[in-house]
């Protein structure tokens, strides 16, 4: 380790934010920094996983990271025997998830693991398509079994059926066994999640490095565009909305969909006409599975899927209906995308010598073969499966409320999954004995205290990294998925020591182009409604289901994310400049700042602060326009026009100083 490179804050020196003292009680001890491993742990790099868990992890939601902790790492360490890496460790710091990769640098150990790895990984690569087909079968079967798990409140009396069928066990027993099945099902899906992912990322990384070594200036984005699939399942939900918007115009119900109001009101209006009923029927046909589309990364129960909250898809539908009415073509230009992909890859290939071109061809062909898994697993796992999983947990929460131990369906998310076992046992015992227990007070007190602590943790801003950075970061998952490499670490170190007068910060150039505009810092999905057309989205992380936003923003900047993160993929899809993995973007930028986002170089420049006269004037104009647009009935077209005018006003204000 180079001594002059600097270090991040020592994880053992991080204090609990006021009001969150004792937060550690919400998490299992094996995920906390403790004195036993201090000598080792404080000498490692720990980076904040804002990609999957930008918020403090709810104790129940910790199921997700804990599931991947075992599945991903078993594949790396025990199944594949990756010669150069052990697993990725997790720690919780003030509720936030931090990760630390482990490399193997002992040549003897690498040599010992290599033949095992080569044989096993080769089997998967050589049989990839067949294994992937089976994977889809396994994943959908796992989802089907998850769907079939039902939680029902314990009735006053055991149903007569138990007696008449002489089954022996009771519905209370079912509750516990079904809960076990729920957890097992989550674990099972986590294994499928990583069954092929590590290898696919490794393949991608190999191609990326090959391109970089031959074309030092190549951006990650260009490599991704050479590889990216054209018909990717992840784009299906949005594609279905576009199709439904076109159908709505055909059926003459476009105005009803564009009408202001909650989706429920829009739906009841549609029910009044045969055409509206027809459209609703078509909507219902696509909901399963395409509306199992989380508004987050799929790791937090609070980010509901479209199927549970129709506001995001209906907002998108309004916009799409307006665009169809303006005769815009909404379908993705598949032929154009295919040509673009070939133009890029043939362009780079043409610059290589013959023997290099052969290696390029071989790598690209294999990476394109394995990459659909990377792109599609996201829908199967994070969106479809995880959304159903959280809904099942919510159902169980309602059962506990009915059982008298909690007050709200979502109280369950403040309990670790093993605490829920304990609670379910107590509930079964109460039901069995037939008299109240002290748990009806103690569980409620615990939840109340945890809600307070959680709110205090939410207000804390986790640093991008803790501990001591290694010389270089090479672990494939860390590099490919999290976008963390030696450069990232150096940028973060620079950002930590940055001068407050500095008006520039850097991230990964994730999607090309340059845009200027007013910043909107969005930390939570529900803040998206504040966004005005033409603004620049600055967020911890974006999720693909924020598609409605991507159609309206000028550029995206995210604290986290790698080149294969959702923000990067969707920005390229929408042809917006995007800079990801800035580390501290949401800390440095304030809503109302005028920014320039350079998606070619990864530089974000603050042109004017919101408190500066120029920035403020621009922003005030926007607010007025927004209010005016809202008063005018919030027609999507009007809002877009207002956004453009406001943009022009802000530009004028910006140049007049």
């Amino acid at each position: 380790m180079a001594p002059d490179r600097g270090t991040f804050r020592n994880p053992y020196h991080v204090e609990a934010p006021p009001g969150a003292e004792g937060w550690e009680s919400m998490y299992p001890s094996y995920l906390l920094f403790g004195p036993e491993m201090r000598d080792r742990d404080e000498q490692k790099l720990w980076f904040f996983d804002q990609m999957h868990n930008p918020e403090p992890v709810y104790p129940f939601d910790l199921m997700m990271p804990e599931s991947w902790l075992v599945s991903l790492n078993q594949y790396t360490t025990r199944v594949w025997n990756l010669p150069t890496a052990l697993g990725i460790e997790q720690r919780i710091v003030n509720g936030y998830l931090y990760l630390s990769p482990n490399v193997i640098d002992d040549p003897a150990m690498i040599a010992e693991r290599e033949p095992v790895f080569q044989q096993r990984a080769r089997h998967y690569f050589e049989n990839w398509d067949e294994i992937y087909d089976n994977w889809v079968t396994k994943a959908t079967d796992c989802i089907d079994r998850l769907k079939s798990i039902r939680f029902e409140p314990l009735a006053e009396r055991e149903p007569a059926e138990t007696v008449l069928s002489a089954r022996g066990t009771t519905t209370a027993f079912d509750l516990l066994t079904r809960y076990s099945r729920l957890l097992e099902n989550m674990h099972e899906m986590a294994y499928y999640h990583f069954e092929m992912l590590n290898l696919a990322y490794g393949a991608y990384l190999t191609f990326l490095e090959f391109c970089r070594s031959h074309f030092p200036a190549i951006t990650d984005d260009l490599v991704a565009r050479m590889v990216a699939g054209i018909e990717v399942i992840l784009y299906r939900p949005d594609a279905e909305l576009r199709r439904l918007a076109a159908r709505a115009v055909e059926l003459g119900v476009g105005d009803a969909i564009k009408a202001p109001g909650e989706p429920a009101a829009v739906i009841s209006e549609l029910r009044r006409s045969p055409a509206g009923l027809q459209w609703l029927q078509e909507l219902d046909q696509v909901k399963d599975p395409w509306f199992y589309y989380s508004t987050g990364a799929g790791y937090c129960h609070a980010n509901r899927a479209w199927i549970d909250d129709l506001r995001p898809p209906f907002a998108a539908l309004r916009d799409y209906v307006s665009r169809v009415e303006r005769n815009e073509v909404l379908s993705r230009p598949l032929e154009g995308l295919r040509r673009e992909r070939e133009r890029l890859s043939q362009g780079y290939r043409g610059l290589l010598d013959d023997h290099e071109a052969t290696a390029f061809d071989n790598l690209l062909a294999l990476v394109r073969q394995v990459f659909p898994f990377v792109e599609n697993h996201n829908f199967y796992v994070e969106h479809w499966h995880h959304s159903i999983f959280f809904n099942k947990a919510r159902d169980l929460g309602a059962v506990i409320v009915a059982g008298g131990l909690l007050d709200r369906d979502d109280d369950i998310f403040y309990l670790h999954r093993y605490e829920v076992y304990s609670l379910l046992y107590e509930m079964e015992a109460r039901w069995a004995v037939g008299v109240p227990t002290r748990g009806e007070v103690t569980w409620r007190e615990l939840i109340a205290r945890r809600r307070q602590m959680y709110a205090a943790l939410e207000a804390w801003r986790p640093p991008a990294a803790l501990g001591v950075p290694p010389d270089k970061v090479t672990e494939p998952i860390t590099v490919t998925l999290f976008g963390i490499n030696t450069d990232t670490i150096n940028r973060w170190l620079a950002a930590e020591s940055r001068d407050s007068a500095d008006n520039e910060f850097r991230g990964l150039a994730a999607s090309p182009g340059v845009a200027e505009g007013i910043a909107r810092v969005v930390r939570q999905v529900d803040e998206l409604s504040l966004l005005v057309d033409g603004e620049i989205l600055v967020c911890p992380l974006t999720a693909p289901s924020w598609s409605i936003v991507f159609a309206r923003i000028a550029a995206a900047v995210s604290d986290g994310g790698g080149i294969m993160s959702h923000a990067a993929i969707v920005s390229r899809e929408y042809q917006l400049p995007a800079v990801v993995a800035t580390g501290l973007g949401t800390e440095i930028v304030r809503t109302g700042d005028r920014l320039r986002v350079d998606g070619d170089t990864g530089v974000v420049t603050i042109l004017a602060r919101a408190s500066d006269p120029a920035g403020q004037a621009g922003h005030a104009d926007r607010a007025d326009q927004q209010a005016a647009a809202a008063a005018a009935g919030q027609q999507a077209g009007a809002a877009a026009a207002a956004g453009q005018q406001a943009g022009a006003a802000a530009d004028t204000a910006g140049t007049s100083t």
Partner: protein, 350 residues
């Protein structure tokens, strides 16, 4: 007597004056490297200012005629040959004026016939005169080129060693002068990293001398050949420019005013045109080229601006990855398993 003499010529050209389009690499001994470069630009379909080349054989005649001294039959023969050279230059110069037919301003440059132009013995041999006008002035400048090549070797000449035999010889290029609004240098791969996907452009105001001579700090652009995107830009100070005055005589150096210094010297459209030139040249001449270019007008063609290619030569730097070892062989699976086993592909650092 139209045949050149001189011991080392592999090629016998029909005249003392050669059409630039006929100058090829194998004629370097007779027309020089610069002329061969110009010839390759023409054959690659580039717009090049009109020019002709006075071959090294004419220089040899000139040297011999000086050696013969006045009087005698040999002297008369030499003088006849000198007349022939002179008339060829006059005719070719008149032809350069094209339909305008006027005495257009030209650059007169020597074109080294020796491969290694950095050789110390050639120092001072390569002269450039910008802005000569009229046949007499042009011939005068051609002679100056000859003299400048000739002067360092006066001693050897006096000791009766023929210039041609000593391997010292010079060709001269006469080329219509572009009144360049902006000009510069372009590398068709990155000069430092040897990244072939990049075109690097340096540009500054006025004639190229300011950039080539390192006199000003130019604007710098890096352009991705495949996407056409400008991936880097840096603004140069561009403090001075060399321009051709309206009377076309004596190129002048003048300061560039602040507003132009702070603006980009070329537009995105012009960058795109340069990129197209780079791509065309690479497909015609091979990879890794160093190109001099200018955007401006030529008198023979009226007031409309064009992009001109002025010179081309290969870049010699080896790509970084090839310097580190051979490209990996094997199937995609082999390559990936190798990388994941900790072997680094082809020198690329993770």
């Amino acid at each position: 007597m139209t045949r050149p003499r001189g011991g080392h010529d592999r090629l016998l050209l029909p005249r003392y004056v050669v059409a630039t389009a006929d100058c090829r690499a194998e004629h370097v001994g007779e027309v020089g490297g610069k002329a061969a470069g110009l010839g390759s630009l023409l054959r690659a379909g580039q717009r090049v200012p009109g020019s002709f080349v006075i071959a090294a054989s004419a220089f040899a005649e000139y040297v011999q005629s000086r050696a013969a001294g006045p009087g005698g039959a040999a002297s008369q023969q030499r003088q006849a040959a000198g007349e022939e050279v002179r008339r060829s230059i006059e005719r070719s110069y008149a032809a350069l004026g094209g339909r305008h037919g006027a005495d257009i301003p030209v650059a007169v440059r020597s074109s080294a016939t020796i491969e290694d132009s950095a050789d110390a013995s050639c120092a001072g041999q390569f002269m450039t005169f910008l802005g000569a006008r009229g046949a007499d002035e042009v011939i005068g400048k051609v002679e100056e080129c000859w003299i400048s090549a000739f002067a360092p070797h006066l001693e050897s000449y006096r000791s009766q060693r023929g210039i041609a035999e000593a391997g010292q010889s010079v060709a001269v290029i006469v080329q219509e002068l572009v009144d360049a609004r902006v000009s510069g240098v372009m590398f068709t791969q990155h000069p430092r990293t040897a990244d072939r996907s990049l075109v690097v452009i340096e540009s500054s105001y006025g004639l190229g001398e300011a950039v080539v001579g390192g006199e000003v700090s130019p604007d710098l652009f890096e352009v991705n050949k495949i996407t056409g995107q400008v991936t880097q830009r840096s603004l140069g100070s561009k403090a001075a420019e060399h321009r051709l005055p309206t009377d076309g005589r004596l190129v002048q150096r003048r300061p560039v005013e602040a507003a132009r210094r702070e603006a980009w010297s070329i537009t995105d459209e012009e960058i795109a045109a340069l990129l197209a030139m780079a791509t065309e040249l690479e497909s015609a001449l091979g990879r890794g080229l160093d190109v001099e270019w200018a955007i401006g007008t030529v008198e023979s063609d009226g007031p409309g601006e064009s992009l001109f290619a002025l010179q081309v030569r290969p870049i010699t730097a080896e790509p970084a990855h090839r310097a580190r070892g051979a490209a990996p062989a094997g199937s995609g699976i082999d390559l990936i398993l190798g990388r994941l086993s900790g072997r680094i592909l082809d020198g690329g650092a993770p």
